[in-house]
Protein backbone atom coordinates (compact mmCIF):
# COMPACT_ATOMS: atom_id res chain seq x y z
CA UNK A 1 0.00 0.00 0.00
CA UNK A 2 2.71 2.32 1.05
CA UNK A 3 4.87 1.61 -1.94
CA UNK A 4 1.87 2.03 -4.16
CA UNK A 5 1.33 5.63 -3.07
CA UNK A 6 5.01 6.29 -3.44
CA UNK A 7 4.87 4.90 -6.91
CA UNK A 8 1.84 7.02 -7.75
CA UNK A 9 3.59 10.05 -6.39
CA UNK A 10 6.58 9.24 -8.51
CA UNK A 11 4.40 8.95 -11.59
CA UNK A 12 2.87 12.32 -10.80
CA UNK A 13 6.38 13.66 -10.27
CA UNK A 14 7.60 12.33 -13.58
CA UNK A 15 4.60 13.58 -15.51
CA UNK A 16 4.86 16.93 -13.80
CA UNK A 17 8.49 17.39 -14.71
CA UNK A 18 7.72 16.07 -18.19
CA UNK A 19 5.00 18.66 -18.49
CA UNK A 20 7.39 21.30 -17.21
CA UNK A 21 9.93 20.56 -19.89
CA UNK A 22 7.29 20.35 -22.57
CA UNK A 23 6.01 23.82 -21.66
CA UNK A 24 9.58 25.01 -21.53
CA UNK A 25 10.14 23.80 -25.07
CA UNK A 26 6.91 25.43 -26.18
CA UNK A 27 8.00 28.70 -24.64
CA UNK A 28 11.52 28.54 -26.02
CA UNK A 29 11.21 31.92 -27.68
CA UNK A 30 10.08 33.53 -24.45
CA UNK A 31 13.14 32.10 -22.74
CA UNK A 32 15.31 33.24 -25.61
CA UNK A 33 13.96 36.76 -25.24
CA UNK A 34 14.38 36.96 -21.47
CA UNK A 35 17.31 34.80 -20.34
CA UNK A 36 20.02 37.10 -21.78
CA UNK A 37 18.61 39.88 -19.62
CA UNK A 38 18.52 37.61 -16.60
CA UNK A 39 22.24 37.02 -17.09
CA UNK A 40 22.77 40.75 -17.51
CA UNK A 41 20.81 41.72 -14.41
CA UNK A 42 22.65 39.13 -12.32
CA UNK A 43 26.01 40.48 -13.45
CA UNK A 44 25.23 44.18 -13.23
CA UNK A 45 22.85 44.31 -10.28
CA UNK A 46 23.49 41.24 -8.13
CA UNK A 47 27.21 40.59 -8.50
CA UNK A 48 28.08 44.05 -7.07
CA UNK A 49 26.30 42.97 -3.87
CA UNK A 50 28.87 40.20 -3.65
CA UNK A 51 31.41 43.02 -3.77
CA UNK A 52 30.17 44.12 -0.35
CA UNK A 53 32.57 41.55 1.02
CA UNK A 54 35.31 44.05 0.19
CA UNK A 55 34.19 46.18 3.11
CA UNK A 56 35.32 43.44 5.52
CA UNK A 57 38.73 43.01 3.90
CA UNK A 58 41.81 44.99 3.04
CA UNK A 59 40.92 44.64 -0.58
CA UNK A 60 43.67 44.54 -3.15
CA UNK A 61 42.49 44.38 -6.76
CA UNK A 62 45.34 42.01 -7.71
CA UNK A 63 43.89 39.08 -5.79
CA UNK A 64 40.49 37.48 -6.11
CA UNK A 65 37.82 38.59 -3.71
CA UNK A 66 38.04 35.40 -1.65
CA UNK A 67 41.80 35.59 -1.35
CA UNK A 68 42.13 38.74 0.76
CA UNK A 69 43.02 39.76 4.30
CA UNK A 70 39.86 39.74 6.38
CA UNK A 71 39.68 42.60 8.83
CA UNK A 72 36.16 42.31 10.18
CA UNK A 73 34.51 45.60 11.05
CA UNK A 74 37.69 47.68 10.96
CA UNK A 75 36.53 49.94 8.16
CA UNK A 76 33.13 50.50 9.72
CA UNK A 77 34.70 51.44 13.05
CA UNK A 78 37.00 53.82 11.24
CA UNK A 79 34.02 55.25 9.36
CA UNK A 80 31.92 55.82 12.48
CA UNK A 81 34.80 57.46 14.33
CA UNK A 82 35.68 59.78 11.47
CA UNK A 83 34.47 63.31 12.17
CA UNK A 84 34.24 64.02 8.47
CA UNK A 85 31.64 61.27 8.15
CA UNK A 86 29.21 63.10 10.44
CA UNK A 87 29.74 66.33 8.54
CA UNK A 88 29.02 64.53 5.29
CA UNK A 89 25.98 62.85 6.78
CA UNK A 90 24.69 66.22 7.96
CA UNK A 91 25.10 67.67 4.45
CA UNK A 92 23.37 64.68 2.88
CA UNK A 93 20.38 64.78 5.21
CA UNK A 94 20.10 68.57 5.05
CA UNK A 95 20.01 68.67 1.26
CA UNK A 96 17.75 65.64 0.90
CA UNK A 97 15.24 66.95 3.45
CA UNK A 98 15.16 70.38 1.83
CA UNK A 99 14.84 68.69 -1.56
CA UNK A 100 12.00 66.50 -0.31
CA UNK A 101 10.01 69.41 1.10
CA UNK A 102 10.51 71.72 -1.87
CA UNK A 103 10.27 68.85 -4.34
CA UNK A 104 6.76 68.01 -3.18
CA UNK A 105 5.15 71.28 -2.17
CA UNK A 106 6.21 73.36 -5.17
CA UNK A 107 5.08 70.87 -7.85
CA UNK A 108 1.73 70.36 -6.10
CA UNK A 109 1.09 74.12 -6.00
CA UNK A 110 2.25 74.47 -9.59
CA UNK A 111 0.03 71.60 -10.70
CA UNK A 112 -2.96 73.10 -8.86
CA UNK A 113 -2.48 76.40 -10.62
CA UNK A 114 -1.90 74.77 -14.02
CA UNK A 115 -5.09 72.81 -13.47
CA UNK A 116 -6.99 76.07 -13.03
CA UNK A 117 -5.86 77.52 -16.36
CA UNK A 118 -8.78 77.81 -18.77
CA UNK A 119 -6.88 78.46 -21.98
CA UNK A 120 -5.72 75.02 -23.11
CA UNK A 121 -3.15 76.23 -25.63
CA UNK A 122 -1.58 78.55 -23.05
CA UNK A 123 -1.55 75.72 -20.52
CA UNK A 124 0.18 73.37 -22.92
CA UNK A 125 2.76 76.01 -23.86
CA UNK A 126 3.63 76.64 -20.21
CA UNK A 127 3.90 72.90 -19.63
CA UNK A 128 6.25 72.45 -22.57
CA UNK A 129 8.47 75.25 -21.29
CA UNK A 130 8.38 73.88 -17.76
CA UNK A 131 9.48 70.41 -18.90
CA UNK A 132 12.54 71.74 -20.71
CA UNK A 133 15.04 71.90 -17.82
CA UNK A 134 14.31 68.29 -16.91
CA UNK A 135 15.79 67.10 -20.19
CA UNK A 136 18.92 69.15 -19.85
CA UNK A 137 21.89 67.57 -18.09
CA UNK A 138 23.10 68.59 -14.65
CA UNK A 139 26.33 69.64 -16.32
CA UNK A 140 24.44 72.25 -18.31
CA UNK A 141 22.31 73.27 -15.34
CA UNK A 142 25.36 73.71 -13.14
CA UNK A 143 26.92 75.89 -15.83
CA UNK A 144 23.75 77.95 -16.08
CA UNK A 145 23.40 78.32 -12.31
CA UNK A 146 27.03 79.36 -11.97
CA UNK A 147 26.56 81.87 -14.79
CA UNK A 148 23.35 83.32 -13.35
CA UNK A 149 24.91 83.70 -9.91
CA UNK A 150 28.31 84.93 -11.06
CA UNK A 151 29.67 88.22 -9.82
CA UNK A 152 30.51 89.56 -13.26
CA UNK A 153 27.38 89.88 -15.31
CA UNK A 154 25.31 87.23 -13.53
CA UNK A 155 21.60 87.92 -13.96
CA UNK A 156 20.75 87.63 -10.25
CA UNK A 157 23.43 90.05 -9.12
CA UNK A 158 22.54 92.49 -11.89
CA UNK A 159 18.89 92.34 -10.94
CA UNK A 160 19.60 92.90 -7.25
CA UNK A 161 21.97 95.76 -8.06
CA UNK A 162 19.51 97.47 -10.38
CA UNK A 163 16.86 97.25 -7.66
CA UNK A 164 19.38 98.84 -5.31
CA UNK A 165 19.03 95.97 -2.87
CA UNK A 166 22.81 95.48 -2.78
CA UNK A 167 25.73 97.67 -3.82
CA UNK A 168 28.32 94.91 -4.18
CA UNK A 169 27.73 91.71 -6.17
CA UNK A 170 27.29 88.73 -3.85
CA UNK A 171 29.68 85.81 -4.29
CA UNK A 172 26.93 83.21 -4.11
CA UNK A 173 29.07 80.24 -5.08
CA UNK A 174 31.76 81.02 -2.50
CA UNK A 175 29.48 81.02 0.54
CA UNK A 176 29.24 77.60 2.13
CA UNK A 177 26.10 78.34 4.10
CA UNK A 178 24.27 79.24 0.86
CA UNK A 179 25.16 76.02 -0.89
CA UNK A 180 22.24 73.92 0.36
CA UNK A 181 19.79 76.59 -0.70
CA UNK A 182 21.40 76.95 -4.12
CA UNK A 183 21.24 73.20 -4.73
CA UNK A 184 17.62 73.06 -3.61
CA UNK A 185 16.56 75.98 -5.80
CA UNK A 186 18.50 74.64 -8.78
CA UNK A 187 16.78 71.30 -8.31
CA UNK A 188 13.37 72.97 -8.06
CA UNK A 189 14.10 74.97 -11.21
CA UNK A 190 15.08 71.81 -13.06
CA UNK A 191 12.45 69.33 -11.90
CA UNK A 192 9.30 71.19 -10.79
CA UNK A 193 7.67 71.13 -14.21
CA UNK A 194 8.44 67.47 -14.70
CA UNK A 195 7.13 66.52 -11.26
CA UNK A 196 3.75 68.08 -12.01
CA UNK A 197 3.03 65.46 -14.68
CA UNK A 198 1.87 62.80 -12.27
CA UNK A 199 -0.12 65.22 -10.12
CA UNK A 200 -1.84 66.66 -13.19
CA UNK A 201 -2.69 63.15 -14.35
CA UNK A 202 -4.16 62.40 -10.93
CA UNK A 203 -6.17 65.64 -11.10
CA UNK A 204 -7.57 64.81 -14.50
CA UNK A 205 -8.81 61.54 -13.04
CA UNK A 206 -11.06 63.31 -10.54
CA UNK A 207 -14.75 62.87 -11.25
CA UNK A 208 -16.07 66.13 -12.82
CA UNK A 209 -19.40 65.56 -11.12
CA UNK A 210 -17.77 66.41 -7.81
CA UNK A 211 -16.95 69.87 -9.12
CA UNK A 212 -20.43 70.32 -10.58
CA UNK A 213 -22.08 69.28 -7.32
CA UNK A 214 -19.94 71.67 -5.30
CA UNK A 215 -20.73 74.51 -7.72
CA UNK A 216 -24.40 73.90 -7.07
CA UNK A 217 -23.63 74.01 -3.35
CA UNK A 218 -22.01 77.39 -3.90
CA UNK A 219 -18.37 76.45 -3.38
CA UNK A 220 -15.84 78.89 -4.82
CA UNK A 221 -12.60 78.29 -6.65
CA UNK A 222 -10.42 77.87 -3.58
CA UNK A 223 -12.89 75.68 -1.73
CA UNK A 224 -12.97 73.33 -4.70
CA UNK A 225 -9.21 73.26 -4.87
CA UNK A 226 -8.99 72.56 -1.16
CA UNK A 227 -11.85 70.11 -0.77
CA UNK A 228 -11.85 68.28 -4.10
CA UNK A 229 -8.58 68.65 -6.03
CA UNK A 230 -6.15 68.22 -3.15
CA UNK A 231 -7.91 65.18 -1.61
CA UNK A 232 -8.12 63.78 -5.15
CA UNK A 233 -4.36 63.56 -5.46
CA UNK A 234 -3.71 62.41 -1.91
CA UNK A 235 -3.04 58.76 -2.73
CA UNK A 236 -0.65 59.63 -5.56
CA UNK A 237 1.07 62.11 -3.30
CA UNK A 238 1.50 59.62 -0.46
CA UNK A 239 2.85 56.87 -2.69
CA UNK A 240 5.43 59.15 -4.27
CA UNK A 241 6.33 60.67 -0.91
CA UNK A 242 7.01 57.30 0.66
CA UNK A 243 9.09 56.17 -2.28
CA UNK A 244 11.19 59.32 -1.94
CA UNK A 245 11.75 58.81 1.75
CA UNK A 246 13.66 55.72 0.74
CA UNK A 247 15.96 57.95 -1.27
CA UNK A 248 16.58 60.38 1.59
CA UNK A 249 20.10 59.18 2.05
CA UNK A 250 20.96 58.19 -1.50
CA UNK A 251 20.50 61.54 -3.17
CA UNK A 252 23.35 60.95 -5.58
CA UNK A 253 26.18 63.37 -5.99
CA UNK A 254 25.80 64.93 -9.43
CA UNK A 255 24.53 68.32 -8.28
CA UNK A 256 27.01 68.54 -5.44
CA UNK A 257 29.89 67.39 -7.60
CA UNK A 258 29.13 69.88 -10.35
CA UNK A 259 28.04 72.88 -8.29
CA UNK A 260 30.54 72.45 -5.49
CA UNK A 261 34.00 73.93 -5.30
CA UNK A 262 36.80 73.76 -2.73
CA UNK A 263 35.48 76.88 -0.97
CA UNK A 264 32.16 75.28 -0.08
CA UNK A 265 33.32 71.70 0.32
CA UNK A 266 32.31 71.50 3.99
CA UNK A 267 28.73 72.01 2.89
CA UNK A 268 28.80 70.27 -0.48
CA UNK A 269 30.33 66.91 0.30
CA UNK A 270 27.66 64.19 0.46
CA UNK A 271 27.95 60.47 1.20
CA UNK A 272 28.44 59.38 -2.40
CA UNK A 273 31.10 62.02 -3.00
CA UNK A 274 32.84 60.96 0.17
CA UNK A 275 32.80 57.37 -1.08
CA UNK A 276 34.06 58.51 -4.47
CA UNK A 277 36.92 60.51 -2.99
CA UNK A 278 38.12 57.79 -0.67
CA UNK A 279 37.12 54.75 -2.64
CA UNK A 280 38.29 55.63 -6.12
CA UNK A 281 40.45 58.72 -6.07
CA UNK A 282 42.47 57.47 -3.09
CA UNK A 283 42.04 53.78 -4.06
CA UNK A 284 40.72 52.85 -0.60
CA UNK A 285 38.23 50.42 -2.09
CA UNK A 286 37.29 48.72 1.15
CA UNK A 287 36.58 51.94 2.97
CA UNK A 288 34.58 53.27 0.04
CA UNK A 289 32.52 50.08 -0.03
CA UNK A 290 31.80 50.41 3.70
CA UNK A 291 30.36 53.87 3.04
CA UNK A 292 28.24 52.41 0.24
CA UNK A 293 26.93 49.64 2.48
CA UNK A 294 25.95 52.14 5.16
CA UNK A 295 24.14 54.08 2.46
CA UNK A 296 22.23 51.08 1.11
CA UNK A 297 21.30 49.63 4.48
CA UNK A 298 19.91 52.94 5.73
CA UNK A 299 17.96 53.38 2.47
CA UNK A 300 16.34 49.97 2.76
CA UNK A 301 15.46 50.57 6.41
CA UNK A 302 13.93 53.93 5.48
CA UNK A 303 11.83 52.42 2.69
CA UNK A 304 10.44 49.72 4.95
CA UNK A 305 9.88 52.15 7.79
CA UNK A 306 7.98 54.55 5.55
CA UNK A 307 5.96 51.70 4.10
CA UNK A 308 5.20 50.39 7.59
CA UNK A 309 3.88 53.78 8.70
CA UNK A 310 1.85 54.13 5.52
CA UNK A 311 0.38 50.67 6.07
CA UNK A 312 -0.56 51.54 9.65
CA UNK A 313 -2.32 54.69 8.51
CA UNK A 314 -4.05 53.50 5.35
CA UNK A 315 -3.99 49.68 5.54
CA UNK A 316 -2.35 49.62 2.12
CA UNK A 317 1.17 48.82 1.05
CA UNK A 318 3.24 50.80 -1.41
CA UNK A 319 5.95 48.25 -2.05
Amino acid sequence: MKSQTAEAAEVVQVSRSKRFFRTMLQQKYLYLMSLPFVVWVIIFSYVPIWGWLMAFQNYRPRNSILNQDWVGLKHFIELFTDERFYLVLRNTLAMSTMGLIVGFTVPVIFALLLNELRQQLFKRTIQTIAYLPHFVSWVVVSGIVTKMLSTDGGAINELLMSLNLIDQPIQFMAKGEWFWGIVTIADAWKETGWNTIIFLAAMSGIDPELYEASTVDGAGRFRKMWHITLPGIRTTFMVLFILSIGHLISIGFEKQFLLGNPLVNDYAEVLDLYALNYGINLSRYSYGTAIGIFNSVVSIILVFLANFIYKKVTKESVI
Binding site: T23, M24, Q27, Y29, L30, Y31, M33, S34, V38, V41, I43, F44, V47, P48, I49, G51, W52, M54, P61, F110, L113, L114, E116, L117, F122, R124, I126, T128, I129, L132, F135, V136, S137, W138, V139, V140, G143, I144, K147, M148, A155, E158, W189, G193, I197, G220, R221, T236, L243, G246, E254, L258, A275, I280, G288, T289, I291, G292, S296, I300
Partner: protein
Protein backbone atom coordinates in the same frame (compact mmCIF):
# COMPACT_ATOMS: atom_id res chain seq x y z
CA UNK B 1 -33.09 88.05 -5.76
CA UNK B 2 -30.90 91.07 -6.12
CA UNK B 3 -28.51 89.93 -3.38
CA UNK B 4 -28.12 86.62 -5.10
CA UNK B 5 -27.26 88.37 -8.33
CA UNK B 6 -24.77 90.54 -6.49
CA UNK B 7 -23.13 87.50 -4.96
CA UNK B 8 -22.84 85.88 -8.34
CA UNK B 9 -21.21 88.96 -9.78
CA UNK B 10 -18.84 89.26 -6.85
CA UNK B 11 -17.76 85.68 -7.20
CA UNK B 12 -17.10 86.00 -10.87
CA UNK B 13 -14.99 89.08 -10.17
CA UNK B 14 -12.88 87.17 -7.63
CA UNK B 15 -12.78 84.33 -10.10
CA UNK B 16 -11.64 86.55 -12.90
CA UNK B 17 -8.95 88.29 -10.89
CA UNK B 18 -7.68 84.86 -9.83
CA UNK B 19 -7.47 83.93 -13.49
CA UNK B 20 -5.51 87.07 -14.30
CA UNK B 21 -3.05 86.50 -11.50
CA UNK B 22 -2.70 82.88 -12.43
CA UNK B 23 -1.87 83.73 -16.04
CA UNK B 24 0.57 86.38 -14.86
CA UNK B 25 2.20 83.90 -12.50
CA UNK B 26 2.55 81.36 -15.30
CA UNK B 27 4.20 83.95 -17.52
CA UNK B 28 6.68 84.70 -14.75
CA UNK B 29 7.40 80.97 -14.44
CA UNK B 30 7.91 80.79 -18.19
CA UNK B 31 10.38 83.68 -18.09
CA UNK B 32 12.28 82.27 -15.12
CA UNK B 33 12.61 78.97 -16.99
CA UNK B 34 13.57 80.36 -20.37
CA UNK B 35 15.62 83.44 -19.49
CA UNK B 36 18.79 81.56 -18.48
CA UNK B 37 18.83 79.64 -21.76
CA UNK B 38 18.25 82.78 -23.83
CA UNK B 39 20.91 84.63 -21.87
CA UNK B 40 23.44 81.86 -22.49
CA UNK B 41 22.47 81.82 -26.17
CA UNK B 42 22.92 85.59 -26.44
CA UNK B 43 26.35 85.49 -24.82
CA UNK B 44 27.43 82.59 -27.03
CA UNK B 45 26.57 84.69 -30.08
CA UNK B 46 28.18 87.83 -28.76
CA UNK B 47 31.69 89.08 -29.33
CA UNK B 48 33.80 87.68 -26.52
CA UNK B 49 35.59 90.91 -25.65
CA UNK B 50 32.33 92.79 -25.61
CA UNK B 51 30.72 90.18 -23.35
CA UNK B 52 33.18 90.93 -20.56
CA UNK B 53 31.51 94.33 -20.18
CA UNK B 54 28.45 92.47 -18.95
CA UNK B 55 24.87 93.61 -19.28
CA UNK B 56 23.83 91.21 -22.03
CA UNK B 57 20.27 90.00 -21.60
CA UNK B 58 18.59 88.00 -24.33
CA UNK B 59 19.93 89.69 -27.45
CA UNK B 60 23.57 89.66 -28.54
CA UNK B 61 25.03 93.18 -28.61
CA UNK B 62 27.85 92.50 -31.02
CA UNK B 63 26.81 89.50 -33.06
CA UNK B 64 29.42 86.95 -34.13
CA UNK B 65 29.79 83.25 -34.96
CA UNK B 66 33.39 83.39 -33.75
CA UNK B 67 32.80 81.50 -30.48
CA UNK B 68 31.26 78.59 -32.37
CA UNK B 69 33.98 78.64 -35.01
CA UNK B 70 36.54 78.40 -32.24
CA UNK B 71 35.03 75.42 -30.46
CA UNK B 72 34.37 73.50 -33.65
CA UNK B 73 37.94 74.04 -34.78
CA UNK B 74 39.03 71.95 -31.84
CA UNK B 75 39.26 68.20 -32.43
CA UNK B 76 38.36 67.11 -28.92
CA UNK B 77 34.93 68.65 -29.16
CA UNK B 78 34.29 66.95 -32.49
CA UNK B 79 35.43 63.61 -31.07
CA UNK B 80 33.12 64.17 -28.11
CA UNK B 81 30.25 65.02 -30.41
CA UNK B 82 30.86 61.90 -32.50
CA UNK B 83 31.00 59.64 -29.43
CA UNK B 84 27.93 61.20 -27.87
CA UNK B 85 25.93 60.81 -31.08
CA UNK B 86 27.16 57.22 -31.50
CA UNK B 87 26.31 56.15 -27.96
CA UNK B 88 22.95 57.90 -28.14
CA UNK B 89 21.94 56.22 -31.40
CA UNK B 90 23.24 52.73 -30.60
CA UNK B 91 22.28 52.92 -26.94
CA UNK B 92 18.73 53.99 -27.71
CA UNK B 93 18.28 51.16 -30.19
CA UNK B 94 19.49 48.64 -27.63
CA UNK B 95 17.49 50.20 -24.81
CA UNK B 96 14.19 50.22 -26.66
CA UNK B 97 14.59 46.69 -27.95
CA UNK B 98 15.65 45.24 -24.60
CA UNK B 99 12.88 46.98 -22.68
CA UNK B 100 10.16 45.86 -25.08
CA UNK B 101 11.44 42.31 -25.43
CA UNK B 102 11.67 41.69 -21.72
CA UNK B 103 8.42 43.53 -21.09
CA UNK B 104 6.64 41.25 -23.55
CA UNK B 105 7.89 38.04 -21.92
CA UNK B 106 7.03 39.33 -18.46
CA UNK B 107 3.56 40.35 -19.62
CA UNK B 108 2.77 36.77 -20.69
CA UNK B 109 0.76 35.33 -17.82
CA UNK B 110 1.38 31.79 -19.08
CA UNK B 111 5.18 32.18 -19.15
CA UNK B 112 6.41 29.66 -16.61
CA UNK B 113 9.53 31.60 -15.59
CA UNK B 114 7.56 34.77 -14.93
CA UNK B 115 7.05 33.86 -11.27
CA UNK B 116 10.72 34.19 -10.43
CA UNK B 117 11.84 36.57 -13.16
CA UNK B 118 9.49 39.40 -12.30
CA UNK B 119 10.73 39.86 -8.73
CA UNK B 120 14.34 39.28 -9.84
CA UNK B 121 14.11 42.40 -11.98
CA UNK B 122 11.78 44.40 -9.74
CA UNK B 123 14.04 43.98 -6.69
CA UNK B 124 16.86 45.82 -8.39
CA UNK B 125 14.86 49.05 -8.23
CA UNK B 126 15.22 49.09 -4.45
CA UNK B 127 18.91 48.47 -3.90
CA UNK B 128 22.23 48.94 -5.58
CA UNK B 129 25.67 47.60 -4.86
CA UNK B 130 27.03 51.11 -4.65
CA UNK B 131 29.70 53.10 -6.39
CA UNK B 132 32.82 51.11 -5.54
CA UNK B 133 31.55 47.56 -6.17
CA UNK B 134 30.09 48.83 -9.45
CA UNK B 135 33.43 50.31 -10.39
CA UNK B 136 35.28 47.11 -9.47
CA UNK B 137 32.85 45.10 -11.59
CA UNK B 138 33.51 47.27 -14.65
CA UNK B 139 37.20 46.92 -13.96
CA UNK B 140 37.04 43.12 -13.70
CA UNK B 141 35.02 42.95 -16.89
CA UNK B 142 37.82 44.83 -18.63
CA UNK B 143 35.49 47.62 -19.73
CA UNK B 144 37.61 50.51 -18.50
CA UNK B 145 39.00 52.51 -21.37
CA UNK B 146 36.56 51.15 -23.95
CA UNK B 147 33.62 52.58 -25.86
CA UNK B 148 31.50 49.58 -24.82
CA UNK B 149 31.46 50.84 -21.24
CA UNK B 150 28.88 53.36 -22.41
CA UNK B 151 26.62 50.66 -23.84
CA UNK B 152 26.86 47.38 -21.94
CA UNK B 153 26.06 48.59 -18.40
CA UNK B 154 23.13 50.54 -19.88
CA UNK B 155 21.58 47.69 -21.85
CA UNK B 156 18.52 47.49 -19.67
CA UNK B 157 16.52 49.86 -17.52
CA UNK B 158 14.10 48.01 -15.28
CA UNK B 159 12.02 51.14 -14.89
CA UNK B 160 11.49 51.26 -18.67
CA UNK B 161 10.64 47.56 -18.75
CA UNK B 162 7.81 48.18 -16.30
CA UNK B 163 6.53 51.16 -18.27
CA UNK B 164 6.32 49.05 -21.44
CA UNK B 165 4.85 46.11 -19.58
CA UNK B 166 1.99 48.08 -18.13
CA UNK B 167 1.31 49.34 -21.65
CA UNK B 168 1.27 45.79 -23.05
CA UNK B 169 -1.02 44.71 -20.20
CA UNK B 170 -3.50 47.26 -21.47
CA UNK B 171 -3.55 45.87 -25.02
CA UNK B 172 -6.37 43.53 -26.03
CA UNK B 173 -5.24 39.93 -25.65
CA UNK B 174 -7.32 38.89 -28.64
CA UNK B 175 -4.71 40.28 -31.03
CA UNK B 176 -2.05 37.91 -29.70
CA UNK B 177 -4.46 35.00 -29.70
CA UNK B 178 -5.59 35.49 -33.27
CA UNK B 179 -1.95 35.72 -34.37
CA UNK B 180 -1.32 32.47 -32.56
CA UNK B 181 -4.24 30.83 -34.37
CA UNK B 182 -2.66 31.95 -37.61
CA UNK B 183 0.37 29.89 -36.62
CA UNK B 184 2.66 32.65 -35.39
CA UNK B 185 5.14 31.73 -32.68
CA UNK B 186 6.10 34.00 -29.76
CA UNK B 187 9.05 35.45 -31.62
CA UNK B 188 6.87 36.46 -34.60
CA UNK B 189 4.13 37.77 -32.31
CA UNK B 190 6.63 40.02 -30.59
CA UNK B 191 7.97 41.53 -33.80
CA UNK B 192 4.80 41.63 -35.87
CA UNK B 193 2.08 42.27 -33.28
CA UNK B 194 3.49 43.67 -30.05
CA UNK B 195 6.23 45.95 -31.32
CA UNK B 196 4.06 47.91 -33.79
CA UNK B 197 1.29 48.31 -31.22
CA UNK B 198 3.76 49.60 -28.66
CA UNK B 199 4.97 52.49 -30.83
CA UNK B 200 3.63 55.24 -28.55
CA UNK B 201 5.18 53.85 -25.38
CA UNK B 202 8.39 53.02 -27.21
CA UNK B 203 8.64 56.66 -28.26
CA UNK B 204 8.62 57.55 -24.58
CA UNK B 205 11.21 54.94 -23.69
CA UNK B 206 13.38 56.00 -26.62
CA UNK B 207 13.25 59.59 -25.38
CA UNK B 208 14.22 58.60 -21.83
CA UNK B 209 17.07 56.38 -22.97
CA UNK B 210 18.33 58.87 -25.56
CA UNK B 211 18.32 61.74 -23.07
CA UNK B 212 20.12 59.54 -20.56
CA UNK B 213 22.88 58.77 -23.04
CA UNK B 214 23.10 62.30 -24.35
CA UNK B 215 23.41 63.72 -20.84
CA UNK B 216 25.78 61.16 -19.36
CA UNK B 217 29.17 62.42 -18.26
CA UNK B 218 30.03 60.49 -15.13
CA UNK B 219 30.88 57.24 -16.93
CA UNK B 220 33.36 59.13 -19.10
CA UNK B 221 34.82 60.78 -15.99
CA UNK B 222 35.10 57.51 -14.11
CA UNK B 223 36.14 55.05 -16.81
CA UNK B 224 37.48 56.95 -19.79
CA UNK B 225 39.16 60.09 -18.52
CA UNK B 226 42.49 58.69 -19.74
CA UNK B 227 41.12 57.95 -23.20
CA UNK B 228 40.63 61.16 -25.18
CA UNK B 229 39.38 59.16 -28.15
CA UNK B 230 36.31 58.09 -26.12
CA UNK B 231 35.46 61.47 -24.65
CA UNK B 232 31.88 62.73 -24.71
CA UNK B 233 30.29 66.15 -25.15
CA UNK B 234 28.98 66.45 -21.61
CA UNK B 235 32.33 65.45 -20.18
CA UNK B 236 34.08 68.08 -22.28
CA UNK B 237 31.58 70.69 -21.11
CA UNK B 238 32.05 69.55 -17.54
CA UNK B 239 35.82 69.96 -17.82
CA UNK B 240 35.49 73.41 -19.34
CA UNK B 241 33.05 74.47 -16.62
CA UNK B 242 35.11 73.10 -13.78
CA UNK B 243 38.39 74.78 -14.65
CA UNK B 244 39.52 77.77 -16.60
CA UNK B 245 42.63 75.95 -17.70
CA UNK B 246 40.65 73.30 -19.55
CA UNK B 247 38.91 75.87 -21.71
CA UNK B 248 42.24 77.28 -22.83
CA UNK B 249 42.68 74.03 -24.77
CA UNK B 250 39.89 75.20 -26.98
CA UNK B 251 41.79 78.19 -28.19
CA UNK B 252 43.38 77.30 -31.44
CA UNK B 253 47.15 77.64 -30.98
CA UNK B 254 47.56 78.35 -34.70
CA UNK B 255 45.37 81.40 -34.70
CA UNK B 256 46.95 83.97 -32.46
CA UNK B 257 44.05 86.35 -32.86
CA UNK B 258 41.60 83.88 -31.47
CA UNK B 259 43.61 83.42 -28.32
CA UNK B 260 43.23 87.07 -27.65
CA UNK B 261 39.61 87.35 -28.54
CA UNK B 262 37.70 84.31 -27.28
CA UNK B 263 37.30 84.13 -23.52
CA UNK B 264 36.69 80.92 -21.53
CA UNK B 265 33.28 82.28 -20.62
CA UNK B 266 32.19 82.55 -24.25
CA UNK B 267 33.51 79.06 -24.94
CA UNK B 268 31.49 77.68 -22.05
CA UNK B 269 28.34 79.34 -23.27
CA UNK B 270 28.83 78.13 -26.85
CA UNK B 271 29.39 74.51 -25.76
CA UNK B 272 26.38 74.71 -23.45
CA UNK B 273 24.21 75.68 -26.42
CA UNK B 274 25.67 72.92 -28.62
CA UNK B 275 24.82 70.39 -25.91
CA UNK B 276 21.32 71.74 -25.28
CA UNK B 277 19.93 72.49 -28.73
CA UNK B 278 19.41 68.89 -29.95
CA UNK B 279 17.20 68.20 -26.93
CA UNK B 280 15.04 71.19 -27.81
CA UNK B 281 14.28 69.65 -31.16
CA UNK B 282 13.16 66.34 -29.77
CA UNK B 283 11.19 66.52 -26.54
CA UNK B 284 8.35 68.93 -27.45
CA UNK B 285 7.23 66.57 -30.22
CA UNK B 286 7.05 63.62 -27.88
CA UNK B 287 5.26 65.46 -25.08
CA UNK B 288 1.96 63.67 -25.58
CA UNK B 289 3.71 60.31 -25.35
CA UNK B 290 5.99 60.86 -22.39
CA UNK B 291 3.22 62.37 -20.30
CA UNK B 292 1.26 59.18 -20.87
CA UNK B 293 4.32 57.02 -20.27
CA UNK B 294 5.13 58.71 -16.98
CA UNK B 295 1.57 58.25 -15.81
CA UNK B 296 1.56 54.57 -16.77
CA UNK B 297 4.79 53.94 -14.90
CA UNK B 298 3.54 55.72 -11.83
CA UNK B 299 0.27 53.83 -11.74
CA UNK B 300 2.04 50.50 -12.00
CA UNK B 301 4.67 51.09 -9.35
Amino acid sequence: MSTQKGLLKQRSLADRSFDYFNVLFMIVIGIVTLYPFLNVLAISLNNSVDSVRGGITIFPRDFTWENYQTIFAYDTLLTGLRNTVLRTVIGTGIGVLSASMLAYTLSRVDFQARKWMSPLFAMTMYFSGGLIPGYMLIRHLGLIGTFEVYLIPAILSVWNVFIVRSYIDGLPLALQESAKLDGANDWIIFWKVILPLCAPVLATVALFVAVGHWNAWFDTYLYNSQKPQFTTLQYELMKVLQSTSASSNYRDPNAQQMIASVSPESIRMAITIVVTVPILFVYPFLQKYFVKGMTLGAVKS
